[in-house]
Symmetry: C2
Subunit: 730 residues, 2 copies
């Protein structure tokens, strides 16, 4: 958590709010005018018509039925959990249909369900399956109760004018008040967190406030339970995103958090337009949306920074909602249009109708315009960040991720200076993501599995340096939250060579780590990555640099001892106990190479070994009695030294065509890697390619001033790095 | 090999052939009239225009260049191999372009390359990388030399009229004669095999014969090197396919063999139309094409029966050629049109033009019309066969394969009564296929890897019974080739229940195996498989029934001991040495269940255990020092008995929606499985479902007469099996 200075804070006073709360309903999801606009237009465009029909078919199948509102019992994935989840969506959709059609059957459905909740909710204590520090009542965790509040609140508002004042009172006091009281009083500290859970909680309380004309609720939602503004929605807008719209938990959770942000902002914009909530902090919500969309792989899967499930992509409901609301709030955007086409549905609001109209016009971009992008972390943008370097064709780029952020709250991983590589939409250097089967009751109720903490968040699970088999910060969240890595310099403008350098001095006490990545796009060649990971300490340590990869091992350049008839884990703790040691090798003064095949492309990792190193080929899956893990391979390079440099080259090369039984350029093009200098001041290296080209790299390790002139080994250059191709600066 | 009676043999006499050999050239790939037709029409339709442009762009890049015809040196995947392979395609395409454009540059390219081969070929001895019993000269194996002969022969024919009589003589004697002599004399027994290699060899010799007006070559191609008709192309048409068009090596090799069949048949039809070669044996080539297309998964991947690489599908060059030639020979076909659309290219012959025209007309079917299909094996159709039961939507059916064929020559696997299950295009119960990286030089020159014989073809690698950890027929091909399994009965007509029963008494001496599969498609339910595997012996044995699966293990109903910190192989030989023993359980009087998740669907295997059984959860990858294997999981059910019944139910159920975090029907619906009777005469069982339905199954084990009346346990029925749903026969 962080509570930092808020230079964009809104002037919010209760009087102003009271004044702005318009008397009309609905006003949470849309206003009467907007509802009329949707009603008159949804049928004109195929996508909005289809979205309407989908909702209608679903809701109609429940009309005139007695809908079960069960006593809470099951964890996620179980019947009562899924039923309540289904119920709030059903109520919301029925409310929308009531507004669009005027058919009172829909309103009756919502009213009857809300009355059942009004009877149920006052009877509830903590959920019997509650295991979290923020237990729920309708659900096992309070977060899901907040989801319920958001949608049930909007549903109430949508049928507000249909139900009697007495029913309103009954629902407000029976269905809503126990939930609001619970989260704002019993879970007060949780409600006042600067955390995505609190965004949901504030959205729930705020939307219920707006729907039930309860100013007290709205005030708490905006400014925290003490109404002082240190917490609550405005503080969350100011503190949870960096100025670039990066959310410290990563894009997977931006996806999750953006929904309540958008829904409450939308409801506030309808009820209190003078707040100009969408313009707040340079339109931070628009920034957040665009940033999380750029942090996806080709096809829309969110890059797995911190806890993240790879199944989630930008077609999820959260982003359908965010894009429909953003289109209304911020206007047209080609990338959003492209994503909306993949989503293949819209919300039935003004933005959704406009998107459907734009899609029908046919001027849809052929691909999402991915670009190289850097996002600072931290509310002030000064807590490190994440860089994504992209090269190759924009519709299927190579994407290199480099993470030098702060920890990422409770979903953070111990992965300072970790990298991931994607190529043509495929994961090449991988990150496990999180160990969880969301919505699968048999897998611990769909919750995070124990291996999420014990393996997936540990340092060894990431493509970054592990010292002495310990995770960063000793694997302690409280310690990790104190620090962040930081960027030294970067260059993203020149497509031929893009560079990012970042460093960390806190993950291990007394140890300085610095990693510099060069993504080259040379003529007639696929992108190539040069990766210099430098580590300095005063005493000798064991340094492990893993490359988790996806692909078939085609060839290793080194002789290894394979553990073919007996396998044991690589280590005992900090994630090592999950890695089977499949093979190992001790090598000396060489370039150790591993060639992989992923889909139709070859990839070769080359790592320079001066003196000696031990290499391990590992596979995930040891100590996994419940079969929770995917059995993924890794190459681990181990060096023992005080100071060490890992100089790695990743080539993307060739083509495998099994249908025509051809391979081209199936071999690495690297002839030699020569380290001409490596000390506190400079790293200077030459990479000689078999094809004849020579790449020379000079990097200054202790001066990052861009105007500084350097000379060493007969080379002269300006700034912290320079590259030469065949003697010519690039 | 088999040389069986040929009731469809052609009347072929040398005189008739001589008479029919038309004097005009070209006549192998197409005739002058057909070339004119293509030339006048290819530009009218997008697909033929594109196919033409693709070839032209490729060939044009080589015009007026000195093209390397290197001295053979490398294995598959290496430079000289790939170059010669590229060369013959280049010569053929250039020849086609010469005919279509009249541009002599193309003819010059072909002529110059053939003259280089005329200089090279007489100097060649066996290839330095030759390891096969049929070594090649230009390539490491003779099979590739035969490929060269086919395309080089057509290329020669296409430029025949351009080159001088002296050059023709020089090429015929220098480039072709050494190759023809080599395969028909030094490799005479290989040339005369009844095997797919021989189809290529005959096509090579035959096409060269037709191209060079050499009647001797044509006679050998048609009737074998002794011209007696026991071998050669006609014998191969009569013997290699069953009457259903099933090729004993499986569809992956049908794909490969069909190309030379089609190309030589096409050349014969052009040069000797009176042979009516396409009509031969009830149009057996058309049958073969349709059968191998039905033996694909949704999307076109060939089902991996015997040696087969899963990367190959119906978009490969062989099937582009086969469909373009078949369209010309047999007329239009909707399934071919669908496949041609996926292939996205056509041959530049009359059929290809007609396909391109049909595609432009837009009347393309939405999906390939998959159906349940049975294919007998053996030239006489009496050597067992393979059944594919299909259920569910035709565009994405559930496909159950059941293999009770003969061995399948040198590519055969020891897999009698093996099954595979596909659902919605996904592999569920899997078959490894073969261990080979075709075209990847680093992997043993792209050849079959040692693990192909030692693991992939062994019985334990298949979903069928292994007795005493031995493979069928002791893993001896010569022994396996003597026998075949056989079908007892089947019913494919009724979509609600489809049944196949097959048996084998030779795979293990003194042991009788009988497997009966029931694929049910009950109302409001996904398809369900009932699988009764019965084995009888006079003494006690160890019976292992594996289920190789693809998916994430979600839940096991039994308590197992997981080998979490140390792993060892499950056994020592016959494929067992490749399986890590990940976990094991001893269970007693229960239904052991394993629930898997594959993509968005759940699958539960339930196996009835009376008395006791041991269960193993294994993973492939032990004893694999070169990382040649994919690490795939299996469940193995082990029973020790003289007589045993494995009663298994495979449910396809529910839906996993990670985007919306919902699962539906994630649990098995099986309440109880009760075996009411199990003896030599009958198996009678009841499956009680939690949803209330009751399925009753009665099967007669020793009488398969369809009119036979039976009664047992209060049930009466007619024929070898009967099923009841809630007391009503289905």
């Amino acid at each position: 958590m962080r509570k930092e200075f808020k230079k964009y804070s809104l002037v919010v006073c209760s009087m102003a709010i009271s004044f702005c709360l318009l008397a009309q309903h609905p006003r949470t999801f849309f206003t009467p005018e907007e509802a009329r606009h949707v009603s008159q237009n949804y049928n004109k465009y195929p996508l909005s018509r289809q979205s309407y029909n989908d909702i209608k078919a679903e809701v109609d199948s429940w009309l005139h039925k007695d809908i079960d509102v069960p006593v809470p019992k099951d964890p996620a994935g179980g019947y009562t959990h899924d039923k309540h989840k289904y119920n709030y969506t059903l109520m919301f959709n029925a409310g929308v249909l009531y507004q669009l059609t005027g058919d009172s059957s829909y309103a009756v459905l919502v009213r009857n369900m809300l009355l059942k909740y009004a009877a149920l909710n006052p009877t509830l204590k903590n959920h019997p399956e509650a295991t979290s520090s923020s237990p729920g009542r309708i659900f096992w965790q309070a977060l899901n109760d907040a989801n319920w509040m958001v949608y049930a609140g909007m549903a109430y508002d949508l049928v507000h004018n249909f139900i009697t004042p007495q029913q309103r009172k009954h629902i407000s006091e029976g269905a809503f008040k126990p939930e609001v009281d619970f989260v704002t009083q019993e879970l007060e500290s949780w409600f006042n967190l600067i955390h995505n859970h609190a965004v949901w909680a504030c959205a729930g309380v705020g939307i219920i406030g707006i729907a039930t004309d309860n100013q007290h609720y709205v005030d708490m939602a905006l400014k925290g339970s003490d109404k002082k503004g240190h917490s609550g929605f405005i503080a969350l807008m100011d503190s949870l995103f960096s100025p670039d719209g990066y959310y410290t938990e990563g894009p997977y959770y931006t996806r999750y958090a953006i929904l309540p942000y958008m829904l409450l902002a939308n409801a506030l914009d309808n009820s209190q337009p003078n707040l100009k909530v969408f313009a707040h902090r340079n339109s931070i919500l628009q920034q957040a949306l665009n940033t999380c969309l750029q942090q996806t792989n080709v096809g829309g899967g969110f890059f797995p920074l911190n806890d993240a499930l790879k199944e989630k992509d930008y077609t999820t409901n959260e982003l359908v909602t965010a894009i429909s609301i953003s289109w209304k709030a911020f206007g047209p955007n080609n990338n959003w249009l492209y994503v909306a086409k993949q989503q293949d549905r819209v919300m039935l609001n003004k933005g959704g109708i406009a998107i459907a109209a734009a899609l029908q016009s046919g001027k849809v971009p052929q691909y999402f315009a991915y670009k190289s992008i850097e996002s600072a972390d931290g509310a002030n943008g000064k807590q490190g960040g994440v860089s994504i370097l992209r090269a190759g064709p924009p519709e299927k780029p190579t994407s290199l991720l480099f993470k030098y952020t702060s920890h990422g709250l409770s979903h953070g991983h111990y992965d300072k200076l970790g990298i991931m590589l994607y190529d043509q939409g495929n994961e090449i250097l991988t990150n496990y993501g999180s160990v969880r089967f969301i919505g699968v009751e048999q897998k611990y109720g769909g919750r995070y599995l124990p291996e999420n903490k014990s393996y997936a968040s540990q340092t060894i699970a990431h493509n970054t340096l592990v010292v002495d088999e310990q995770s960063h910060f000793g694997g302690k969240e409280s310690e990790a939250e104190k620090y962040h890595a930081y960027k030294q310099y970067s260059q993203l403008g020149n497509p031929i060579v893009q560079v990012v350098s970042a460093a960390d001095t806190n993950a291990y006490k007394g140890i300085a780590m610095q990693r510099t990545l060069y993504l080259l796009q040379l003529e007639n060649r696929k992108p190539m990555l040069l990766d210099l990971f430098k580590v300095n300490a005063s005493a000798q340590h064991q340094y492990d640099l893993p490359f988790h990869y996806s692909g078939q091992l085609i060839k290793a350049s080194f002789n290894y001892q394979a553990n073919t008839t007996r396998q044991q884990p690589l280590g005992q703790r900090n994630g090592y106990e999950y890695l089977w040691n499949e093979a190992s090798a001790t090598v000396r003064d060489t370039i150790a190479q591993l060639t992989l095949l992923n889909n139709s492309t070859y990839y070769t990792i080359s790592t320079l070994v001066q003196d000696s190193a031990t290499l391990f080929l590992t596979r995930l899956g040891a100590n996994d009695p419940n079969f929770n893990l995917r059995h993924e391979p890794a190459l681990i390079v181990r060096k023992k030294a005080a100071n060490a440099l890992f100089l790695n080259v990743m080539e993307i090369h060739g083509r495998f065509d099994p249908k025509n039984e051809f391979s081209t350029n199936a071999y690495s093009d690297i002839q030699t890697i020569t380290l001409l200098r490596n000390d506190a001041a400079y790293c200077i290296a030459t990479i000689q390619l078999k094809s004849g080209d020579e790449i020379k790299l000079a990097q200054c390790n202790n001066n990052i001033v861009s105007a500084q002139q350097h000379s060493s080994n007969g080379l002269t250059w300006t700034g912290p790095w320079c590259l030469w191709l065949n003697g010519k600066k690039i």
